[in-house]
């Protein structure tokens, strides 16, 4: 079973040289810590920056330089600033190669719910609806089950949707799964996790073909 950092580490294996990537808040943000050596990845922050760097050193923080999570950050050489219309423009136009988001629920059709829980104060969707509707390659980083132990990989989402038919891949503490033809296709198991456990915790249609390898790190 993976911890959050390991989920991020496994997702980082999906990065390719030259990728422009948008990382959501939470586990996705951690992916930046595991970019494979020898490749260059440019991080997009939808509030108007390409080339996001790490947090600043204490004392170097700048109120004018934040990420979409409103955290103080830095830039890397080759960075560029732009307005919010261009930022979502490049997302809509498919220029961002990969978007990694957290989710509350994902359906076997690739629907995603991650912005609203009925009965709870709604903070807003921020840029999530734009990202899931527009990005050409969307992966989700999340826990396989909710705190009650219920599967978050469902036949259909029960929460209000953020986007439909958009998620391509899910990485959880248990497994790596692609969403293809209306099913979750199991690709890899976390070390020490059995296929049976994944089956038991996946409510949506699950495809298991042949031997399922353990993830390699």
């Amino acid at each position: 079973m993976l911890n959050k950092n390991q989920i991020a580490q496994r997702l980082a294996q999906e990065l390719k040289d030259g990728y422009y990537v948008n990382l959501g808040i939470g586990i996705p943000t951690l992916v930046a810590n595991y970019i494979p050596a020898g490749i260059k990845v440019v991080l997009q922050s939808e509030n108007g920056l390409l080339g996001m760097g790490p947090f600043p050193m204490d004392g170097d923080e700048d109120a004018d330089l934040i990420n979409a999570g409103k955290q103080t950050i830095t830039t890397v050489p080759g960075s560029a600033f732009f307005d919010s219309a261009m930022s979502f423009g490049m997302i809509r136009a498919g220029k961002v190669d990969l978007t990694i988001l957290g989710a509350m629920e994902v359906s076997e059709l690739g629907d995603i719910a991650n912005w609203k829980i009925p009965g709870k104060m709604v903070k807003g969707m921020g840029g999530a609806m734009d990202l899931v509707a527009s990005a050409k390659n969307i992966m989700v980083a999340m826990m396989h089950t909710n705190p009650k132990g219920e599967s978050k990989l469902l036949p259909a989402c029960t929460l209000p949707l953020t986007g439909v038919n958009c998620v391509k891949k899910v990485v959880t503490e248990l497994a790596v799964l692609d969403i293809v033809n209306g099913s979750f296709k199991l690709l890899e198991r976390a070390p020490g996790v059995s296929v049976d456990e994944i089956k038991a915790k996946t409510a949506g249609k699950l495809i298991v073909e042949g031997d399922i390898p353990e993830m390699l790190f």
Partner: protein, 233 residues
Amino acid sequence: MKKVFTSAAAAITDINDGATLLLGGFGLCGIPENCIAALVNKRPVNLTCISNNAGVDDFGIGLMLQQKQVKKMIASYVGENAEFERQLLSGELEVELIPQGTLATRCMAAGYGMPAIFTPAGVGTEVAIGKEVRVFNNKAYLLEYAFDADFALVKAWKGDTDGNLVFRQTARNFNPLMAMAGKITIAEVEELLPAGSLNPDHIHTPGIYVHRIFQGVNYQKRIEQRTVNKPDE
């Protein structure tokens, strides 16, 4: 051509009850602090505020919420704001949440004279309810309309007496878009310079979009999430 105003109070003097305002900024980054302070002082009410966020309890649009000046908030993310939450739950405050890219593009549409735009954001979600859906190349899009706002309040880093604006880093965000979208655009700047001081190739918002400009004072430029690496980490 007299665009330069002496103070925020002078620049916002005709923003009255019931006005619709566009306010630049993302979180507390690049917000028109001086304009908001002047509005808090002048106290127009029943305002409709269009801004990506709603400030925090004691800063930004939150200051106007405290005084119950805001009738309706149009935003993409309203964040942590106890008074906002109280007014929303009590029904005192009307809130319309829209996707962030839709918010940005509806500003751009107004500034570019486009009555409406198509975006896929929100298709198949509750955001799409009541909206026109149209399919292009097998992909569904929502028709979203340009904003029609009375005033835009924006904050720039540098500006000149002709109203040309330059923004700094991620404090740019919605500011140039809202500057284009206001029927009357009021810009506050950290540094107001004589026309001709800015490199014409570096200007983000040409002065044609800016009707009033003033030198801001006492900028707090608060940081919402101070995240740093410690030297020993």
